[in-house]
């Protein structure tokens, strides 16, 4: 097995191109598990951790640009104000050791249905910048993640940056697991309120092969909110939760039943809404 240790982005791109089929290694929290279990045997590895650009973050009024190598710990610490839902999701990942190693780029590239940051990135309409020796392209996250652990990342491409808007209203992330920490999500929900555009975006995790956007629920609730007062009628919350449940496409496995996942994701979405918008009984 060959290992490349680039320190600059162009070196990383060159290294990825030089060895067809090279495996990109970021935090290793997914890859090492696969290797230890014998499910993957990389012949060439490009280790990205020394590439400084990948760990950088830029926060401007218009945009937050995360280096793909930003760890969950860094996201939790540095983006709590700019993108609170993403910081909240990062805090739910694994243990402190995992959060110190695992990266947002890795979370996207692994594309697990239970990837904790993915519902937030989906709700934020994140876009992802990919570089290769052929150039750089930007792909919306919803087009990048194509199925369970499947992405449209091409051989030789390095996931470089993730672009999301800064918070323009309340943001929430809630995650259900059978244990109070260090647990794979049975269901999760991100809620992003944009007071400028008067929209509500919702991202659902672990209830479909890819992050789910319950667009009907989003449109419905945006229409029910009194944007001047930031209130919403009680009855609308219940309907919103119902529509969320309807959008979920969960499966039954050894972790939970589809029925529970569908139920839980609706509860989570309802609670996320209540935390963001004042609910009035009339």
């Amino acid at each position: 097995m060959s290992v490349a240790w680039p320190t600059r982005l162009d070196e990383a791109v060159d290294a990825a191109a030089a060895t067809p089929g090279a495996t990109l290694l970021a935090g290793g929290t997914d890859l090492a598990v696969e290797v230890n279990a014998g499910r993957r045997r990389p012949v060439a590895v490009v280790a990205l951790r020394r590439v400084r650009e990948l760990g950088e973050v830029q926060i401007t009024p218009a945009e937050v640009v995360l280096g793909a190598g930003m760890t969950f710990s860094a996201i939790a610490a540095e983006l709590a104000a700019a993108v609170p839902a993403l910081a909240a999701a990062a805090r739910t990942v694994g243990s402190p050791q995992i959060r110190n190693a695992g990266t947002v780029g890795g979370n996207i590239a692994t594309a697990s249905p239970a990837g904790d940051t993915l519902p937030v990135l989906a709700a934020l309409d994140a876009s992802v910048e990919l570089s290769s020796t052929a150039g750089t392209r930007t792909v919306p996250l919803r087009e990048l993640i194509t199925g369970v652990k499947c992405t449209a990342i091409r051989p030789g491409e390095v996931l470089v940056r993730v672009r999301v808007p800064p918070a323009r209203g309340a943001q929430q992330f809630l995650k259900v697991g059978t244990r109070n920490a260090m647990v794979i999500a049975l269901a999760s929900a991100a809620l992003v309120v944009d007071e400028e555009r008067r929209t509500v975006a919702c991202g659902l995790g672990s209830v479909g092969p890819v992050p789910v956007r319950p667009v009907e629920a989003e449109a419905f609730i945006a229409g029910e909110i009194d944007w001047g007062r930031l209130t919403v009628p009680e009855a609308a919350v219940a309907r919103f939760a119902e529509l969320v449940a309807g959008a979920a496409r969960p499966i039954t496995d050894h972790r939970a039943t589809a029925e529970y996942r569908r139920h839980a994701v609706a509860v989570l979405a309802g609670r996320a809404l209540r935390r963001s918008i004042d609910v009035i009984s009339a």
């Binding site: 995650k175 697991g177 059978t178 109070n180 920490a181 050894h254 939970a256 529970y260 509860v267 609670r271």
Partner: protein, 760 residues
């Protein structure tokens, strides 16, 4: 390879808080576990396991494995020279499956190779043709169905008929309860190193709970006399019953003898889940009868344990389940049937609490139901029926030792309650924890009580013994050194501090050296049944007392008097007539003193056809009060506090007792709300710590402890065991609290989020 523990000189310490000598090394990563062993020229072994729970083996072709460069041996069933089967109580389990496999993960072959990767590749290159058969995974079906093994499907049926079996109560409550399969989840997966010996035998370094019973099973399968099989205890992470059965021991020894080289094997965590026995899943039907005043009249119970594919310790586990089925209450009449049956599920055997845990979930749910039916306070109902010294169990046995049941209950409920639910409760400390799922308005608080008990030491007439050797001599510095040699497995329970405490209590100021536990000394029995303080502690005490007799005799010789006027006092021999004193160093100047003993407890008796007999030595009682916060909408639970009163006889090392109680409660909480091996047609669906969840710090409750210290007659220093009780009623208390919070019946443990959220 071995290491001895040298204790520093310190005063007699029974009753003091003593830190474990291996505590800091374990935290710092310096402790040498069995998986850290190595030897010059050693090979690495790998086991090939059946992917099917039930199949006929049509053929096994090892040619592909032997062709892999670096492979030194490939063994299958036909390579076992001695007994083809092993087992703790009944030798019904094949070393390697020959013509049929009976559970997923059953070993079919083992290989030894120059390095671990080659061993893995070689195992994968073995070509096994299976004819896959339908597994029988329902214990009720197995109970009445065709035999899955030449020895039949019923490991044991224990019927208890006590008092007037057709007695009836004015108030009757009934219920059906279920407990899932729990794993011990000990630190340090199975591992060992086997080294061939010049005498044609083998030396095995192994993490285990009982060296001698391993040795006897290994020797029988190797076809060697036991004295040619020498075992030394290697560093153990934990056990909780999961190391009572043989796992890789025989495979390692076979490979070492075949290759003539040291062979090491280490299970991965995933393999460990398939490679050791688990806690028996249970289905339990109960009917309680009581008077209107609240006195128990009769308990009827049928307890069905799924023993999985092989016997392991199922016979003893089901005996405990039946004997302790009513809980620690006066029950004049009883009709109890306990069954342990064979299925194609993973084998089940010993785990902390050993049968008493499963029935506690049922009898405590029944007591709560009865309290409701009587309109009585559940604490009052339990106090009213609590066992006392002199009471008779449903096995007819009269409790002659201490039985502070009312005391443990009162102690548990006397602890102050935690602050009530409010917005001040941090998000992380609510149900859902780091997932930030609950607002305080989403939560309900519940309170539950449960009481449990079980036996200490082995039961039913088993000849339970521990051999101990002591050598007293002057060390290099001229000060006395006591070297204690016992085969006691230190698996985390704390014998390592106890031996030093007992030796200095009995002999005064000595440096205590605990020699490596091995089969060079007689058996110490298993580190299980909460028995090593009583048994190995008792053996060390006894051998020290014998040595004191010799020291007094020797002092008499030196003084030229008879021993009659000499007494032992504060680590010295005192001649009462003259007030002369002679210390240990002076006496030992004449040469070392060596003593040996075999310590036994009072003999118990077997149970008769009606399940009657003085089958148990002594009993430990415990009560737990759990406070939980439940999020009914999502079905999530956070156990806030568990308060406990525990009957310990006497706490010899209170710090260690606290550790046992906190750890045992965490394990009980785990069984109540998350720990379960999920099976689907005999297949384990979650053999990893990704999916077999055990409590984290955020899931573990605050623990409030009251120790009830009423010295137990006949026990060394009056100490009862303490390891198992924390795991018995803590889980049932949590279930009771969740029922209190939700109003749901919740007859099954562990409680899953669906069980609450989809029914609330």
């Amino acid at each position: 390879m071995g290491s001895s523990t040298v204790a520093v000189r310190r005063p007699s310490d029974i009753g003091a808080d003593i830190r474990r000598p291996d505590g800091v090394p374990k935290v710092q990563g310096a402790f040498v576990y069995s998986s850290d062993l190595s030897a010059e020229g050693m090979l690495f072994a790998k086991t090939l396991r059946s992917p099917h729970p039930h199949a006929r083996i049509v053929s096994v072709d090892v040619a592909g494995a032997l062709a892999v460069p670096g492979v030194r041996a490939v063994l299958t069933a036909s390579d076992v020279p001695g007994s083809p089967t092993f087992g703790l109580e009944h030798r019904d389990q094949p070393v390697f499956a020959g013509d049929v496999v009976r559970y997923q993960g059953e070993p079919v072959a083992a290989v030894a190779a120059d390095d671990p990767a080659t061993a893995v590749a070689a195992a994968a290159a073995i070509d096994v043709t299976y004819e896959v058969l339908e597994p029988v995974v329902d214990p009720e079906a197995a109970l009445v169905g065709p035999a899955l093994h030449p020895d039949g499907n019923v490991f044991r049926h224990l019927a208890i008929r006590h008092g007037t079996t057709d007695a009836c109560g004015e108030v009757v409550v009934e219920g059906i309860y279920e407990v899932g399969m729990q794993d011990q989840a000990f630190m340090g997966p199975e591992s060992g190193l086997a080294v061939p010996a010049d005498d044609g035998g083998v030396r095995l370094h192994i993490a285990t709970q009982w060296l001698h019973v391993d040795r006897d099973q290994i020797a029988a399968c190797l076809g060697l006399p036991p004295e040619l099989v020498h075992l030394t205890l290697a560093g153990v992470g934990g056990a909780f019953g999961g190391r009572e059965d043989v796992s890789l021991q025989i495979h390692l020894c076979l490979l070492a003898l075949r290759t003539g080289r040291p062979v090491k094997m280490v299970y991965s965590r995933d393999e460990s889940f398939l490679g050791h026995v688990h806690r028996h899943p249970a289905r339990m039907w109960y009917r309680h009868h009581a008077t209107r005043a609240g006195d128990l009249v009769k308990v009827e119970a049928r307890v069905l344990l799924d023993g999985g594919a092989y016997a392991s310790s199922s016979g003893a586990v089901v005996a405990n389940a039946a004997c302790f089925a009513p809980g620690p209450y006066r029950v004049p009449n009883a009709v109890i049937d306990g069954y342990a049956v064979r299925t194609h599920n993973p084998p089940c055997g010993a785990m902390r609490g050993f049968g008493a845990v499963q029935v506690c979930f049922a009898h405590e749910a029944q007591m709560d139901k009865l309290a409701v039916a009587l309109g009585m306070d559940p604490v009052e109902l339990r106090l009213r029926n609590a066992l006392r010294t002199g009471d008779r169990l449903v096995t007819g046995q009269v409790i002659t030792g201490t039985a502070p049941v009312a005391e443990v209950i009162r102690a548990a409920v006397a602890h102050p309650l935690p602050p009530s639910l409010s917005d001040k409760l941090p998000m992380m400390a609510r149900p859902g924890g780091a997932g930030m799922t609950a607002d305080v308005a989403d939560l309900r608080r519940g309170l539950g009580l449960a009481v449990g008990f079980k036996n200490i030491c082995f039961s039913e007439g088993f000849d339970d013994s521990v051999a101990a050797r002591l050598r007293l001599e002057l060390g290099a510095s001229g000060s006395p050194v006591a070297t204690v040699h016992v085969a006691t497995a230190e698996v985390g329970q704390g014998f390592v501090t106890l031996v030093e405490q007992i030796a200095s209590e009995e002999l005064g100021l000595v440096d205590v050296v605990l020699a490596d536990a091995d089969t060079g000394v007689g058996s110490a029995g298993s580190t299980s049944a909460s028995r090593q303080t009583w048994m190995s502690g008792g053996a060390v005490k006894q051998v020290c007392e014998q040595a004191r007799g010799v020291l007094v005799e020797r002092a008499a010789g030196l003084w030229g008097c008879t021993a009659a006027g000499l007494v032992w006092s504060d680590g010295e021999v005192v001649r009462e007539a003259t007030a002369q004193r002679m210390d240990l160093a002076e006496i030992l100047a004449g040469g070392p003193v060596e003593e040996r003993c075999v310590h036994r407890h009072r003999q118990t008796t077997p149970l008769d056809a009606d399940g009657q007999g003085d089958a148990h030595l002594s009993f430990m009682f415990v009560a737990h009060r759990a406070v939980v916060d439940v999020d009914p909408g999502l079905g999530l639970v956070r156990v806030v506090q568990v308060a406990t009163g525990q009957d310990v006889g006497r706490a010899l090392n209170p710090l260690q007792v606290t550790g046992q109680i906190e750890g045992g409660i965490a394990q009980g909480v785990g069984l109540a709300v998350m720990e379960e091996i999920v099976l689907d047609g005999g297949q384990v669906r979650n053999p990893s710590f990704t999916d077999y969840l055990i409590p984290t710090a955020l899931d573990s409750p605050d623990v409030a402890i009251t120790l009830i210290e009423e010295p137990e007659p006949g026990a060394p220093y009056g100490a009862k065991g303490v390891g198992e009780p924390p795991a018995i009623s803590s889980g049932p208390a949590v279930l009771a609290a969740i029922r209190d919070a939700t109003g749901l019946e919740l007859p099954r443990a562990p409680v899953r989020p669906d069980d609450i959220a989809l029914r609330a």
